[in-house]
Point group: C2
Chain length 209, copies 2
């Protein structure tokens, strides 16, 4: 929807403005950030991909979000509680622009031209995030593993405009993302193949309704 939005341009502006945004490079596997209560960090993934991961008190891992280039994360979008630990882990080399939201909105004098740009740009980024979250909520409200898989595959089909696509996660991670047991998911994948709904070769899947 906001395809006209240029993330490179925006992050460029951010770094040259009163926002005093900083840029940092991370390598695959690095912890980009952990969520801290009462901080209001805004992070923008300029390049690369990452996962927002939660570990609950029992040590169960959940992939809360999968982040791609141009997507935003940080405490400002997330209610941080003491029950969970939240980390963003780089899945590939990542370039991240970050700043503290309050420092911008508080310190800058009124009328600064950059604030207008900042607000409208952030609004676009957050609207995109909201859309992504709604897709995820739709996925999670599906009652069966089969429906979850089908919904997930359909989303990938639409995104890539093709019935054949690559799952951008390992099957282990996909199970965490769909919030189901991995072995049960594998069983369901097998049934879907046997019944002719899909064919697959590693992470390459073809939907053939």
């Amino acid at each position: 929807m906001y395809s006209d939005f240029n993330i490179q341009e925006f992050t460029q502006q951010l770094q040259n403005s009163c926002a005093k945004a900083q840029t940092k490079i991370f390598q695959k596997g690095d912890t980009i950030t952990s969520y801290i209560k009462n901080r209001n960090q805004v992070c923008i993934l300029k390049t690369g991909s990452a996962d927002l991961v939660r570990y609950d008190v029992n040590g169960n891992k959940t992939i809360v979000e999968t982040l791609k280039e141009g997507e935003v994360f940080g405490e400002i979008f997330f209610p941080v509680t003491t029950n969970n630990e939240l980390f963003v882990i780089a899945k590939s080399k990542c370039e991240v622009v970050y700043f503290i939201y309050d420092e911008i909105t508080d310190k800058c004098t009124r009328g600064c031209k950059f604030h207008e740009v900042l607000n409208s740009s952030l609004l676009k980024l957050v609207l995109n995030k909201t859309m992504a979250q709604n897709i995820r909520i739709e996925l999670l409200t599906k009652r069966s593993i089969r429906e979850k898989l089908q919904t997930y595959f359909t989303t990938l089909t639409k995104a890539g405009m093709s019935r054949t696509f690559f799952i951008p996660l390992s099957y282990t991670d996909l199970a965490d993302y769909l919030s189901v047991d991995r072995s049960a998911m594998m069983r369901e994948l097998k049934s879907l193949q046997e019944e002719g709904f899909i064919s697959r070769d590693g992470n390459k899947v073809t939907l053939k309704y």
Copy 2:
């Protein structure tokens, strides 16, 4: 977090501005809006409460969001597909302010003071929405009905600062919200009572860990 934000003031501004926002009153049970592809409506619930409801192709109902005073909805936040029908239904008398996003951003001349206010206000509203969505995602990623109930109850406990609270939904709707079977949920509620985790009297529940 954005408790300083005044929804009444903002909607007032909206109606008196170039945004040409409209206000409408709805009675309990009324359909406030249905989501239409390629429209970009923004609705603000000035007073009252409502549910965003989805019916899938099999007729299954899901409560996608529960909306309170000051919350926003409309296509601009939601990827509308052809597979689902989405409605917002008033749960009580509702006052709704609405406008088409594109009409504002496109038609208005640059530099209009109101646009600055609009963007920063919308940003705050959307950030709140993102937070609410993240809470919902956390809920839905819980693996068992028991955990879902406990998470939901804990949220209500924190919101009301008390171990005793009223569930703002019927049990039928709560099951739709948690995305589980109602009878299975009732069974789980019974177990939670028998094991001494909760006590309840109608919609009044006390958590007693």
